[in-house]
Each structure stands twice: as C-alpha cells, then as structure tokens.
C-alpha cells in the first residue's frame, strides 16, 4: 500500500456507497491507518448520483478537501458511466472498479480511453447469491480492498465480522450473508 491512498466512490442514493466508504474507513482504521471517510452532501434523493470519498494513510491526514485526483475510483452503478465523468482526474497508475456485466469494449469506449487498470465485478450476482437481495455495497467494499491492496483478505474478513456484528446488532440474520458476500466478491473481482 502507498503512504496515502485516495478513493472516490460513485453511486446512486440508496445503494450504500456512503456506507461502503464509511465501512472501508472503519476497516482501514482497525488495521492501524489514519483515515477519512466522507460523502459529498447535496440534495440527495433515492437514485440520484452521489459521491463519497476515502483517504487512507500511514501518516496523520490534515487536508480537508474533496478528492480531485484519486488513486482509485469505485463505480457502484454502471448506469452512471454514461452520465458522470467517473475517470475525471483518476491517476493512470491507479485503477477503476466497476459493478457491471458490460463488455470490455463498451467499458473502454465509455471510459474515454482511460489507460489505467479496469476491474469489474458482478456485485448483483454476488449479492443475490449470498444475501438474496441486491445490496451492492458489501461486494464493492471487498473489491476495492482487493484491487487497492489495502489489507489482506484475512484482515478484511476478520475486521468486517466485528463491524457487521455492530452494524447489524438488530438484524443478526444478515451477518452471515454479508460475510459470504465479502468472501465471494474477493474471488469475483476481475481485471479487464
């Protein structure tokens, strides 16, 4: 992992991109890092495009701005690809991780020739198989941890077990499904 990793999330209101960014901040915090996790608040409604951010660093973080040149971008909803400039400022040394089943050719066209690495995962499939419902944020969390090499698979799974216990204290029946979603997503994320 680099000294400072900057991540930008693109999703739609209600899909949990904000929650995913906060869970990522949690997991990175628990593995000894300095972290920031913050959404860009606007007039959000269910379905409207939203942006959230993470900074993960070995050193204290003082900067308090949005992220304009991220190392990584996570796209939680591929219908945003044609309406939002998701690769804006994205470093070519970094990568973009997209929840999609679309073809490599389509992605290369719609990402306007972005020359960094492109990763995809079918978070819908992972979520339906493990949770029986469509919650893309847990698979996307695992995918970005894997792609950005923020921590080992084992560290992520151990840490998230604790976080889910806390987060889902009132509905413990979903903990196992979410853990399975993480495990499966770690295997399913693929480089295009």
């Amino acid at each position: 992992m680099n000294d400072l990793i900057e991540i930008r999330w693109h999703g739609r209101g209600g899909q949990g991109a904000k929650t995913a960014s906060l869970l990522l901040a949690d997991a990175a915090f628990n593995t000894g890092n300095y972290i920031q996790g913050f959404p860009e608040y606007g007039p959000e409604r269910m379905g409207a495009p939203i942006t959230a951010y993470n900074r993960i660093s070995k050193k204290p973080i003082t900067i308090h701005t949005n992220i304009y040149e991220p190392d990584y971008v996570v796209v939680v909803d591929d219908t945003l690809l044609e309406s939002v400039d998701v690769t804006a400022g994205l470093k070519t040394t970094g990568a973009i991780v997209i929840n999609t089943t679309k073809s490599a050719d389509y992605l290369k066209t719609v990402l306007k020739g972005y020359s960094g690495n492109i990763y995809t995962i079918d978070a819908r499939k992972v979520s339906m198989e493990t949770l029986g419902k469509y919650f893309p944020n847990t698979p996307m969390l695992a995918a970005i941890v894997k792609v950005a090499n923020i921590m080992s698979d084992e560290e992520l799974l151990n840490d998230m077990k604790g976080s889910f216990k806390h987060k889902f204290a009132k509905k413990p029946e979903v903990i196992e499904g979410n853990m399975k979603a993480l495990e499966l997503a770690l295997k399913e994320v693929k480089k295009v």
């Binding site: 913050f38 608040y41 900067i63 308090h64 304009y68």
Partner: protein, 396 residues
C-alpha cells in the same frame, strides 16, 4: 492513556457532551448539527448521562431554556448551526449580558438566503461581537478538545461568559477521522463540578437576574463584560495548560505552523487550516518559506499576540469564510489589520473571501494564494487587497 477512535466531528462533540454530563441540554435540530442532539438524546435514553434533555420547539427556546437553567444554577449546553443561531440571536445577547457560562457547539453553515446547508462562517460572524467566547476547531479532535475545555473557561470566576466552539459543517462534522479520546473519569475530574457563586435557586441568597438596567449602570455592566472577555485570554491559556497535562495535546491562542522562519503566510480558521498545512509542507519541499497562523481563539481576539507573530513576514493573506458585504474586508482581516496598525507594525496584507456556501477550497486554491503572496513580495505591489478565492469566473 488516550483512546484511539474514529469519529465524525458531530460524534466527537456528542461524546464530549456525554463525558461532561451537563445538567441540562436544550436543543432543536438543524443541519449540519442535528446529529449532536440526536446522539445526545440516545445517551439520555440509555441512561449513560443523567442530563435533563429539553426537546424545545425552536432555537430561540433552546437558548432561553439554557439561560433559565444556568440562571437557576445548572450547567447547560446546546448545539446549532446557521439559521438556528440566527433565531437565537436575541437570547445570545441575554446569555452573555447575564454572565451565564452556557456552552454552545456551533457547526458552521451559511446563513440563508438563498437556502444553503453547507459550510461557511457567516453564522459565527453574525454573533462575533455579542459577548461570547469563540473557539475554532480544525478537525474532530479540536472540536472535542475545545469542548472539554469550554466549561472550565466559561465558568471561571474572572470570566463568567458563554462560550461557543465552532467547527466546519459537513467538512469536519460529517467526516469520519481518527481521534484520541480521553477516559471518562479523567474528563470528569478535569471538567469538575459547577459551583456558581450566585444563582436563582439558592434560598440563602434571594436574587433577581436580568432586571431593568438604564442610564445609571448599563454602561458599567457592559464595561465589566468587556473586562471579563479580556480576562478570558489568560484563563484560556491556563485551562489549555492543564488540558495538556491531562491529554498531552498543546493549545494556545493560535497555532503557528512553520511560521518561525516563514516569509509568506496565510491566516485562517477551522478545516482550511488543515489543507493549508498540507500545502505548506509541499511548498517547503520546494524551498518556499511558507507558513500558517491558525486562529483558535477568535473572541477574545488576541490582538497583540497575533500582530507580533506576523511582524516578521514579508506578506500575509487573511482568509475569511464569510463575505462581509461591506466594502471593507472580512471580519478576520479587519481585526488583524487593525491589530497591526495599533501595534505600529506594517506588513503587506491581502484579504481573500473563500469557501462561501460550502464551495470546496482545494489545495490548488491555497497554492495560488501563496503564489500571489510571492508576487507581492517580489513587486511590492498589493494592487487590490480585497480578493476572492475560488469564485467562478465570468463565462462568455
């Protein structure tokens, strides 16, 4: 041992309030400070505090309830933002003139209109001369630490003034970041018990609070308020010293970041100071002698100390996050230039209005300010001292 945690700015404030465990909290929700009374009300419901939580119907009532509680002899706290503070305005002056050490957490947001929920300092600047002590906080840690110190400062016998602790709406209030928390017992001991000398519910000493005060004495009472504000400066330093003994984190009236050998500097408050530190580090790597003076104590304003701290610089930019709309520069700019003038220190200074209504202040914006300052040093020419930073250019 401090406890390593990660909290948003609002969570940090709510945690401090839980540890302070005041007698009364009266609040009305308003973005972006809503979470503070929201979290606090769960502490009340869970029994982790024994505070009387008053869910009032407006901010005017929130401040009124705090005034009533403090006058009765209790320790009272509240939180608000922007128009919430505007609605309190009448009672803000009553609180300070009655010398009631109420503690308010202000999560800075643009005052309407048009309606905007994001950060600027127009709310705080609207009450800057209302007799409240005002502390500003760069991040969640400082919002927490300043709040832990707030009661001791406000309740000190030489002060007895209300205090507000500010932090930037959303930018820090809603950002999860690392923080060092102090243990409950240590905080309890540090904050201490509130023992007012005079209070309404003392049957041994029947008193009236806030009666008519006409030509004969209002002037003297105002002068006493002003003296209390002057006294607050040393009390803040004393309390900060004690705090450092407990927590190991050092606070002064302001923070000087790489200022000692700096040739050019920015003065600003709250979260932008953090971004400025990031830029200063970057410029220093390239041999540019850049520095920062971050205001912590805005009221009482440390006039002489700031003037001295800036005296050796070749050019200074003062950043104001509230447009004064007055053709005379932002509040911070006015205060600092006035301080310099009265100390007979002349340093070229420019004012930038920035970040209005939550406009993101990028590191490149801050870089551009330092580069402007370099130009001023080179040419000796200020041109226009009243500038904007990050304002949209006119498009043809």
């Amino acid at each position: 041992m401090s406890i390593r945690e990660r909290l948003s700015g609002n969570e940090a404030v709510a945690t401090a309030m839980k540890q302070i465990n005041p007698d009364v909290v009266a609040a009305f929700p308003i973005t972006p400070s809503t979470e503070i009374p929201q979290y606090f009300s769960t502490f009340v419901a869970n029994g982790s505090v024994d505070t009387e939580f008053v869910a009032v119907e407006s901010e005017h009532s929130a401040m009124s309830a705090c005034i009533g509680a403090e006058a009765a002899g209790a320790r009272a706290m509240t939180a608000t933002s922007a128009n919430g503070l505007s609605l309190m305005w009448e009672m803000i002056y009553i609180a300070s003139s009655l010398r009631l050490p109420i503690v308010l957490s202000l999560v800075n947001r643009a005052v309407s209109g048009p309606l905007n929920i994001h950060c600027d300092h127009s709310d705080a600047m609207g009450v800057r001369d209302s007799g409240w002590i005002m502390l500003f906080s760069e991040n969640n840690q400082e919002a927490y630490d300043n709040l832990l110190m707030a009661n001791r400062i406000a309740e000190h016998k030489d002060v007895l003034l209300p205090i507000m602790v500010c932090q930037d709406g959303f930018i820090t209030s809603h950002s999860i970041e690392n923080i060092e928390l102090e243990e409950d017992e240590k905080v309890k001991e540090f904050v201490g018990t509130y023992k007012p000398n005079h209070y309404l519910l003392n049957k041994e000493e029947p008193i009236a609070i806030g009666p008519l005060d006409l030509q004969s004495y209002l002037f003297e009472h105002k002068a006493a308020q002003a003296q209390a504000m002057r006294n607050a400066k040393n009390v803040i330093l004393e309390v900060s010293k004690d705090f450092e003994k407990m927590a190991g984190r050092k606070y002064g009236l302001f923070e000087e970041y790489k200022l000692e050998d700096a040739e050019i500097a920015i003065v600003c408050m709250n979260s932008t100071a953090g971004t400025t530190k990031f830029v200063v580090d970057k410029l220093r790597e390239n041999g540019i002698k850049a520095g920062l003076l971050k205001i912590r104590v805005f009221r009482p304003f440390p006039t002489i100390e700031i003037a001295n701290a800036l005296s050796k610089l070749k050019a200074v930019a003062i950043l104001d996050r509230a447009d004064p709309l007055n053709n005379a520069g932002g509040a911070l700019f006015e205060d600092i230039t006035s301080a310099m003038y009265t100390q007979n220190i002349h340093v070229p200074m420019v004012n930038y209005i920035y970040g209005i209504g939550g406009r993101d202040t990028k590191s490149t914006d801050i870089e551009s300010v330092y580069s402007d300052l370099q130009k001023i040093v080179e040419t000796g020419n200020i041109d226009n001292p009243y500038r904007y930073l990050g304002l949209r250019k006119e498009e043809n």
